[in-house]
Amino acid sequence: MTDRLDKKGISRRSILKGGAAATGAALGSGAITGFPTIWAQNIKDVTLRQFGTGVSNLNEVAAKVKEDLGFTLEMTALDSDAVTQRAATQPDSFDIADIEYWICKKVWPTGNLQAMDTSKIKNYDKIVGIFRNGKLTPESTIAQGTAPHTVGFVEGVDGKTFVDNESGWMTLIPTIYNADTLGIRPDLIGRPISNWSELLNPEFKGKASILDISSIGIMDMAMVVESMGEYKYPDKGNMTKEEIDLTLGIFTEAKKNGQFRAFWKTFDESVNLMASGEVVIQSMWSPAITAVRSQGIPCVYQPLEEGYRSWGGGIGLSKSLSGLELDAAYEYINWYLDGWVGGFLMRQGYYSAVPETSKNFMSEDEWGFWFEGKAAEGDITNPFGTVMEKAGAVRDGGSFYDRMGAVACWNAVMDENQYMVRKWNEFIAS
């Protein structure tokens, strides 16, 4: 009883607040896009349960949803493997799945998700080309691996197989993505690093690390193997059994020779390895680099000649969503692409699916630093207020187009995935 009264109170207040916020946003930016459309009283009763990895499942987003849209968003942050498991095996435990595109390839065939009607997505036309036709700019080439647009569309709401055109039915709405590379400790290495092959350089014996998430790790390995000149893959994202053996063979030998200090599975493990100096070069994620730097320890997200290994995430809708909940979910997606979240994510170093709306929620200096690759004019802070870069700093890798244009491959799920997983297991156990 108390609970219900409580909810009522919150929602009435939040509707008022939401209205004020919407008006404010409209006045402030002139970028009103029409939300909210379903101000029915009963939306206050809606609770959507979202889960995903820690990178984008932030309480700040849930709080802002409550404020702007009036309904409740419950966030659960898990690691990549747990996300896959949950999406594949517990369809009734969530309404919105925030998953990565490569996971989509494993999860979609289970039928636990429903496709989204792109005509209901207001900013659909503004979503960057990578997620619609694979091309960042009309002349760019499509990178290897599970490129997001290859698993981005199905033929209808109940479609089981992916189609290679913009069919109007989208599997995931892209929300967040980035180009990954190796992280290094410049103070402990003391010389420039410009190739992926440095990961296996005996100079860093006992001081290197790679992540223990097979679908991502194998791609990092492939980048290293190509960079060493050992082998050129026809498609890194879809290896044959022989290619898997070759790749893991090279790394197993390096492991036996003591090249690696440890393997990491979670974000904070990679931060600790780097910050404590156990490791000087390793696979790393962008926010982990910032976490190390915020401790006052020099750490660089090193752009490399061979390019980046990229990943993208998006939100998908549970099969069981319908009626008011489904409307609320569309409302949420439209709100998501409307810029506030985009700005929030971009100020952490990720990219938004619709960068131009995010611009409205960032200062000119922030936009210049994060998106355009310009030198910062003032201190750059993250959304939580911590200073991340001093004035004059330039983003590693340059502008959005420089970075995303240099993507060599996407995280992938291969046809021989099961074999790869077994071999990966052996590599870790060897």
Binding site: A82, P109, R422, A429
Partner: protein, 311 residues
């Protein structure tokens, strides 16, 4: 079984007689052996649903096939074939046994010593209890926290290395302190010694001190008393402690993962990797082999002492 039911019946009738109330149900009218079955029924049901059935399920699934997103029934030996033909499996099983044996040895020596001190050197019962509770204090926090606290201590630039360097014992940091077999076993011993202390202390407390006095009166040295009186009488405690430690170590995968920086593996890690990658049938096959191994180890341990008799 019949002994127990007799006892139970006896107490029932005694209680009934005491209250002078007419028993609602005459247990004694049922044939003895049916009573026995009825009494054991609740436990049997619980064990069946929560132990036997899941294990059967695991065995069945271990013969199934899996794809990325589904497991489907198809009787085949593929999972076992892959498992038993991979040299890595043997290496991992050997690692598991190695961790179990070394950890068992250290926890036994430390656990026995601690229990001996508590039981025979500490005179007052109050102090025995106080000191025993002191042993359990580290267990007020979680396993993982106790484990992770070793990492900054043992690291390349950690407290241990910097102390040794400043004392002039070593010039270069010792790399093997962390992310090695050493750190894994250290954490195991730290985590599981209490499981050895408790049962050994418990059996030692039940040793009649007059036996020790008799041994001394008969001219036995301290060492002879230990080997001829105390150790044989503590055997059940040692066995129970050993079973705890061995099964815990053989099933633990978190410790191995954290303390070796994922560089080493035991069977538990193999299973957890498989589960994380949705390879349930393969994980089930590994689990079946692990279960068989653990049962073998325990049956060997039980050959040394008849726990049922000793309890």
């Amino acid at each position: 079984m019949t002994d127990q039911s007799h006892l139970f019946l006896h107490s029932q009738t005694a209680a009934a007689a005491g209250k002078k109330a007419k028993p609602a149900f005459q247990w004694s009218r049922l044939p003895n052996n049916l009573t026995g079955w009825l009494l054991s029924l609740p436990l049997t049901v619980v064990l069946f649903f929560f132990l036997v059935l899941p294990i059967c399920m695991i065995v069945v699934v271990s013969f199934w096939r899996a794809t990325e997103f589904s497991i489907y029934p198809a009787f085949q030996f593929d999972n076992y074939e892959f498992l038993l033909t991979s040299p890595v499996t043997y290496q991992v099983f050997w690692n598991t046994v190695k961790y179990a044996l070394i950890t068992w040895f250290f926890t036994l020596v430390i656990g026995f010593t601690v229990a001996y001190f508590l039981a025979f050197h500490v005179r007052s019962l109050t102090w025995q209890i106080v000191l025993f509770l002191l042993c359990t204090i580290p267990f007020w926090t979680s396993n993982i926290i106790r484990m992770i606290s070793w990492i900054p201590f043992l690291g390349r630039n950690g407290i241990a290395n910097s102390t040794l360097i400043s004392m002039g014992v070593i010039d270069e940091p010792l790399e093997w302190l962390l992310f090695s077999d050493f750190s894994v076993i250290l954490a195991f011993v730290h985590l599981y010694t209490l499981f050895m202390v408790v049962p050994i202390f418990n059996t030692m407390m039940r040793i009649d001190t007059s036996l020790i006095e008799a041994a001394r009166d008969a001219g036995a040295s301290g060492y002879q008393t230990l080997t001829n009186v105390i150790i044989p009488l503590t055997k059940p405690g040692i066995m129970i402690g050993s079973i705890f430690v061995v099964t815990l170590v053989m099933g633990d995968f978190i410790t191995v993962r954290f303390m070796s920086g994922s560089q080493k593996a035991n069977v538990g890690r193999l299973i957890s990797n498989d589960i994380a990658l949705l390879q349930y049938p393969s994980a089930a096959a590994t689990a079946v082999i692990l279960l068989i191994t653990v049962l073998l180890v325990i049956s060997v341990l039980l050959r040394f002492v008849d726990i049922r008799k000793e309890l």
